[in-house]
């Protein structure tokens, strides 16, 4: 069972995609699109694909306000019935960051981070956050439900 980032790193993936994009709110759609594609290839049904799209979006939200001076590096992998996604933010977000940070109030962000955690708890089989090589890193794992039947 995968409980930690180290467990995740030991899994063998049958297909892996790396996605790197500027940490801009309007580019998070790329992460959702790629996650949906890899989930479909893993045999996820429509509901599960939608869950994964939301979960990968929440990984990005968990980094806080976007900053287009930074980039988000995402590794999406699948092995049979399981999709794993590891995302890292290459620069620690600062209050002076661009994008959403300019126009969203602190209350909205505080609420969002808490709600994001609840969503990830519900939509994934496992997820976590830690600092790897000095970068904020968030990961998730989701298994195809039919695999349990």
């Amino acid at each position: 069972m995968i409980e930690t980032f180290d467990d995740l790193a030991r899994t063998e993936e049958s297909e892996s995609i790396e996605l790197v994009f500027p940490a801009r709110a309007d580019l998070v759609v790329l992460a959702r699109f790629t996650a949906a594609t890899i989930a479909a290839r893993a045999g996820f049904d429509v509901e599960e694909i939608e869950d994964l799209r939301l979960a990968v979006d929440e990984l990005c939200v968990s980094f806080g306000p976007m900053d287009d001076r930074a980039c988000i590096r995402m590794e999406l992998g699948r092995s049979d019935d399981t999709v794993t996604i590891v995302a890292s933010f290459d620069q620690v977000p600062s209050p002076a960051a661009g994008g959403a940070a300019k126009t969203l109030d602190a209350v909205s962000w505080e609420q969002a981070i808490e709600l994001s955690e609840r969503l990830l708890d519900s939509l994934t089989d496992a997820h976590g956050r830690e600092t790897r090589a000095g970068r904020p890193t968030a990961w998730l794992r989701k298994r195809h439900a039919a695999a349990d039947r």
């Binding site: 709110a25 759609v29 939301l54 979006d57 939200v61 209350v107 709600l115």
Partner: protein, 119 residues
């Protein structure tokens, strides 16, 4: 995700913000400024129409909760109109089903607002 994810209308004399498509990190700032502009203009009760929304993430919910709190400080309310099961599920997962007044149609909203305003 849309550059301008909303339009504005009126229902039962209340301002309505109509959202469509994917309301995410990119759309949240526009939603935030639209709601702030209505509240600043003196509207303590606002309606957000989510009937055509297909995706709603935690940051969009954070914006709605922040606006709801401001409306309630002014003795108003923030009503949601929605039927999309996926959006209802997001509200359920996050424990917000009973936080907002939720209506399945504008008729239902008008009826509820009428009842609220009746002496």
């Amino acid at each position: 995700m849309l550059d301008q994810p909303y339009s504005r209308g009126q229902d039962a004399s209340l301002p309505v913000v109509v959202l469509a498509g994917e309301v995410d990190l990119a759309a949240a700032p526009s939603l935030h400024s639209e709601l702030q502009s209505l509240i600043s203009a003196g509207h303590s009760t606002v309606v957000v129409d989510l009937l055509e929304v297909t995706f709603l993430d935690s940051i969009a919910l954070g914006v709605l909760i922040s606006a709801l709190e401001q409306c309630r400080e002014l003795d108003g309310e923030l009503h949601l109109v929605l039927t999309e099961p996926r959006i209802l599920r997001v509200l359920e997962i996050t424990g917000l089903m009973n936080t907002f007044p939720i209506h399945s149609s504008h008729d239902e909203l008008r009826s509820a607002v009428g009842e609220v305003s009746r002496p």
